[in-house]
């Protein structure tokens, strides 16, 4: 049964106010088209998580969609500190979000535990630091220290995370949702599989037969997936390996816009509320920056040698 639908429909059907979302990607394959649709539909009180969050999370916070953030990091990378995030924490604009902070080891491990059906996972980081001294909405369930039942050594346990919905952008998927990704993975595989259900946005929909030609690349099996959205250029201004490069010029545009509340609102009016969907977004991009710049983002063409799975 095909699960192909528009992003509008995928978000309407699966994301509610108050949902707990894993939103994948870090420069690599951020599901920006989904993020924009969440903002367009004015979802609120969301709990969101991902390791190494960047501009997409900053935008959701600035747009007022986020209540709680299970975080490790949020910055605009090359462009410095995340403006909306800082305004939220420092000045309560548009409101102060609640934070629970981990690290880029512990959070992916918590998602892995969620994906594997484990209640918690021991980790060897965060020990001796203030990350253990601050607790927010998770309270005493942020972590537990125990003596290892095996050798008595002090051991830090962190809880499994099971988001309501995982949203990822991948290179290709079939109509049922078997999703294939290649290149730098971040915490995408574990974040998606930790989630109760998954929205897959992809550069292209391929047949089940094509998936079967290279099954090692599948990171989410179809039974977890509730929506498949074909969304070329859906990760822009991030990148999709083999399709297009990260857009550094656009990153700078966002940084400048988000420096002020007014600039950020204008940015949303132009790039989110001012377009109906990813197709209009891409058209607007080409109109504004020219087809040459759009073409310049396209990836080089260099296929891996095929491998054989035969016996």
């Amino acid at each position: 049964m095909s699960k192909v639908m528009s992003m509008k429909e995928a978000i309407e059907k699966n994301v509610s106010d108050g949902s707990f979302l894993y939103i994948g990607g870090y420069i690599a394959r951020p599901p920006f088209s989904a993020i924009h649709e969440i903002i367009r539909q004015k979802k609120k009180d969301l709990t969101v998580t991902r390791s190494n969050a960047a501009d997409g999370f900053d935008m959701l916070i600035g747009a007022g969609c986020v209540k709680r953030f299970i975080a490790t990091f949020l910055s605009l990378g090359l462009y410095g500190l995340a403006r909306c995030y800082r305004r939220s924490i420092e000045k309560g604009i548009p409101h102060k979000i609640e934070l629970e902070e981990y690290s880029n080891l512990s959070l992916p491990m918590m998602l892995m535990a969620g994906a594997l059906g484990m209640p918690f996972v021991p980790v060897k980081d965060m020990l001796g630091t203030d990350l253990l001294n601050i607790k927010s909405f998770m309270g005493d369930n942020k972590y537990k220290m125990i003596d290892s039942p095996f050798d008595g050594s002090p051991t830090l346990l962190v809880p499994a995370l099971k988001p309501d919905v995982g949203i990822i952008h991948v290179q290709q998927a079939d109509e049922n949702g078997n999703a294939q990704m290649w290149g730098i993975g971040g915490d995408c595989r574990w974040g998606a599989n930790a989630s109760e259900k998954v929205i897959v946005s992809c550069e292209r929909i391929v047949s089940r037969d094509v998936i079967g030609l290279d099954p090692s690349r599948t990171i989410v099996p179809d039974f977890k997936v509730v929506a498949v959205v074909e969304e070329p250029f859906g990760a822009h201004p991030g990148y999709a390996a083999g399709f297009y490069d990260v857009d550094f010029i656009f990153g700078s545009l966002y940084q400048k816009a988000s420096n002020t509340v007014e600039g950020f609102q204008e940015f949303l009016n132009e790039w989110v509320f001012g377009v109906a969907d990813r197709t209009e977004y891409t058209q607007h991009y080409i109109e504004k920056f020219g087809y040459r710049q759009f073409e310049n983002l396209k990836a080089r063409f260099s296929f891996s040698p095929p491998v054989s799975y035969e016996y």
Partner: protein, 266 residues
């Protein structure tokens, strides 16, 4: 060309100081900027068998341009292995396979503890910073942590506002008490004025070498704790011709490293 070209800038010297702490065969976890340049200088000079990885998932990448983030697409083609955070931070780092990691921060204290979370009170901060990201696990789990910092009495601190990443925490034995792996921790603190090392007994950073144009007095004056000075304190060796050649001809032909001058690394 003389053995020590005299037209180098301070960030180039700092990158060389980082490179010299890397040994042949080391597995190094790098971010962008200084760490990548330092690790690459080492790889192209005295440590050809060292290998780099990025936390987002790339191992032994061969980028055609300097990576501008740990997830930059240029880290994909040609890499020896690509996974994700669980592979690099879990399977490699937590398992104990990573020798060197580079860190920087808004504040660094005398025990090498680093703050990248907030300036001021956590709940009502003067300034909200990005948070830990990969810094805490790298500081917790690599064998030798190299810290890059600006040398002034605001950036260096007797005590940081918030310990995001553990150095030697509150002194000797603290890492072990907390259960961090043996034989890990801060190794050198490389600033724009000096190289500080960590005393084996007190775990405090002490002055090992001062950069050309600086002095013991200047370093001590700009360090907000009672800085101990090594008996064999000496001037830092300036960048060598082979190091500068690698940096300018292979790694950084556009001299992007100059942006660090704008950030105060002078």
């Amino acid at each position: 060309m003389s053995e020590h070209p005299n037209d180098y800038i301070k960030p180039e010297l700092m990158a060389c100081c980082g490179a010299r702490e890397i040994r042949d065969g080391d597995r190094v976890i790098v971010g962008t900027g200084f760490p990548t340049m330092a690790a690459n200088i080492a790889k192209h000079t005295h440590a050809p068998n060292s290998v780099m990885m990025q936390e987002a998932g790339s191992y032994d990448a061969v980028p055609r341009r300097p990576a501008l983030s740990v997830g930059d697409p240029c880290l994909n083609p040609g890499a020896a292995m690509i996974g994700g955070l669980v592979e690099i931070m879990g399977m490699f780092l937590q398992r104990g396979w990573v020798d060197v990691g580079f860190l920087s921060g808004s504040q660094v204290d005398k025990f090498g503890n680093i703050n990248t979370t907030v300036i001021g009170d956590y709940y009502n901060p003067k300034s909200r910073l990005p948070g830990s990201g990969g810094a805490n696990p790298i500081g917790s789990l690599v064998k030798r942590v190299l810290i890059i910092a600006l040398h002034d009495t605001r950036r260096l601190a007797e005590k940081v506002d918030f310990v995001t990443t553990p150095g030697y925490i509150d002194g000797p034995g603290a890492r072990e008490r907390w259960g961090l792996p043996k034989g890990t921790g801060p190794w050198a603190l490389i600033t724009n004025k000096a190289v500080l090392k960590f005393d084996e007994e007190t775990k405090e950073a002490y002055l090992a070498s001062y950069h050309p144009d600086s002095s013991v007095d200047e370093v001590v004056k700009n360090t907000p704790w009672d800085l101990k000075v090594a008996d064999d304190v000496h001037e830092t060796e300036p960048p060598r011709a082979d190091e500068i050649r690698v940096l300018r001809e292979i790694l950084d032909p556009n001299r992007m490293i100059k942006i660090y001058e704008g950030r105060g690394y002078v």
